[in-house]
Amino acid sequence: MALAFGALFVALVLCALAAPLWADLAGRGPEATNVTGKIEVDGRQVDVVSLDGTPIGPQWRSEYFLGADANGRDVMVRLLYGARNSLLIGIAAALLTTILATLVGLLAGYLGRWVDAVARSALDVIWAFPVILLGVALATALAVGGLQIGPFTLEAGSTAISIAVIAVVYVPYMARPIRGEVLALREKEFVEAARAQGAGPLRTMLSELLPNLSSTIVVFAPLMVANAILLESALSFLGVGVVPPAPSWGNMIDAGVERLVTAPHLAIVPGAMLVATVLALNVLGDGVRDAFDPRSRASWGARRP
């Protein structure tokens, strides 16, 4: 079952990548408005957006496959481009989290003493904030002026900021188990052997410990992506993630919620996609965990805030 869902996720990613192809098929991009356009339905010319502002529902053909939104944009096209944004941010953030968490976990676990103490305090501190609140706080703080780290400037409202915020928030989630693993592995014979052979800490960490962490990392990966995608959609829903007109499932839901009476497809469709993607990742994560490490501390399913 896990493999099936894994395949589903891969299929979703491929669909997202194929977004421009679909856009060509549908004849418009994700931000191309068409408020006064008409299309042919059953031989009649129908307004894409009616005179009182109601958009058409799913047409099940290349143009307006899933209908139009209040600005006449193609929902399917936006869905796919939204997938791109949401998946891009989710995967990039998860990747960044993995890198940071592995780094911190490895250094803290192996080097011990004050490095460990500092690292654990830092992790505790970040862990103390409810995920969504921290995400919102960081996004708000950076909303006006952006972020400057040395020579790098991240523009306010850019994707990079979203990725950075989401990545940081989830570091403790992964770093603690990794640290735990490292603590356990540190005492094993092969590490002793390497040290005896004169390997320095860096070599030991890279060539001995890291490979053994791979199973833990792999087990966590799908869950981190799921968490990141959910957090991104929550931030976008609140207006501090991906801002319109760029599509993201979160901000599509935000706009769609305003139209539940006349155009429920606008809120239901992106939500369903979100659920499907996160579910696929969760099932995949479950399966991976069962396969690699049934007793792992990777939580069952993505944790909520």
């Binding site: 103390a128 959609s233 929550a234 939500g271 944790r303």
Partner: protein, 315 residues
């Protein structure tokens, strides 16, 4: 035992300090630009910005700034420049609403999560177990704001079974209070039920294969007694600590989405609205108090856990 408690408390103080420093950094230092302008929120006049700069000490050195910020936030004198209201008062006002949401949801998800988890564990491997697993996974994958919006519209407005959002104080009308909270409780709980049922299921299965359980069975205790006296109690211990932490997280502003969708006007929504208005003092205060609450709560939980499970104290 006392040594453990003392050590844990000391740790707590260190983390609290670190949390306050981090919050301070997030809002006043890390972002680009002038913190006084940022804090003034809606574009104010020069004189207003200067006043804020002096009030919060942005021209002073960082440590002095930190102390000033702590004084204002913890001392309760921080005001929002947008609404002219005292931030701490607003938080105190929103607290009963957030607590109403959190407590109700927490009880619901605990009961439901344990019940479903136990059920799944007892029928491990069979169809009903698989079904429950799928349900749990779906529950954990649902975005709460989406679920909440749909529930609020279809069950609230369209079907009319529930009020369409809003909050009625408990003291005003307990029945109405509960009526307004049923949907928010359910929506918020669904998120956790899935997770908790799976954790419990896993714990129960693990515990059931432990030696002492086999011993108990061998001693002739009925299956039910084994279940209740040994298995469940030991499976619940880790859950209780998790539960404490999650509850803390919800109170500390983690319910921001549920509150916003149902217009409950609790602490989380207060922060969310301030976010929209780029109003820094409330977000800063909520973040800091929220984190404090969690740290304190997790310390309490750790201590309780140590009382329940002596093995922990030794680490």
């Amino acid at each position: 035992m006392t040594r453990f408690v003392v050590r844990r408390l000391a740790q707590m103080l260190v983390v609290l300090f670190a949390v306050s420093v981090l919050t301070f950094l997030i809002f006043n230092v890390i972002p680009n630009g002038d913190p006084a302008v940022r804090m003034a929120g809606k574009t104010p006049t020069e004189s207003q910005v200067e006043a804020i700069r002096a009030d919060w000490g942005f021209d002073d050195s960082l440590p002095v700034q930190y102390v000033t910020t702590m004084e204002k936030v913890l001392g309760g004198s921080a005001i929002s420049y947008f609404s002219q209201l005292n931030v701490r008062d607003q938080i105190v006002e929103g607290l009963p609403r957030t607590l109403s949401l959190a407590v109700g949801a927490a009880v619901l998800w605990m009961l439901a999560g344990v019940a479903l988890g136990l059920l799944a564990a007892l029928r491990a491997g069979r169809l009903s177990d698989r079904l429950l697993t799928v349900l749990a996974l779906v529950g954990v994958s649902l975005p709460v704001f989406w679920l909440g919006a749909l529930a609020s519209y279809y069950l609230g407005f369209k079907a009319g079974w529930f009020p369409n959002g809003g909050y009625v104080p408990l003291t005003e009308d307990p029945l109405d209070w509960a009526h307004h909270l049923v949907l928010p409780w359910t929506v918020l709980a669904i998120l956790f039920i899935g997770f908790y049922s799976r954790v419990l299921r896993s714990n129960v299965l693990d515990t059931m294969s432990e030696d002492y359980v086999r011993t108990a069975r061998a001693k002739g205790l009925s299956e039910r007694q084994v279940l209740l006296r040994h298995v469940l109690r030991n499976s619940l211990i880790p859950i209780v600590t998790l539960w404490g932490l999650d509850f803390g997280a919800v109170v500390a502003g983690g319910a921001i989405l549920t509150e916003t969708v149902f217009d409950l006007q609790g602490v989380g929504q207060y922060a969310a609205e301030a976010v929209g208005q780029l109003d820094v003092p409330p977000v800063l205060a909520v973040t800091m108090f929220g984190a404090f609450f969690i740290v304190v709560l997790s310390t309490v939980v750790d201590i309780v856990y140590a009382i329940l499970d002596p093995r922990i104290r030794l680490t």
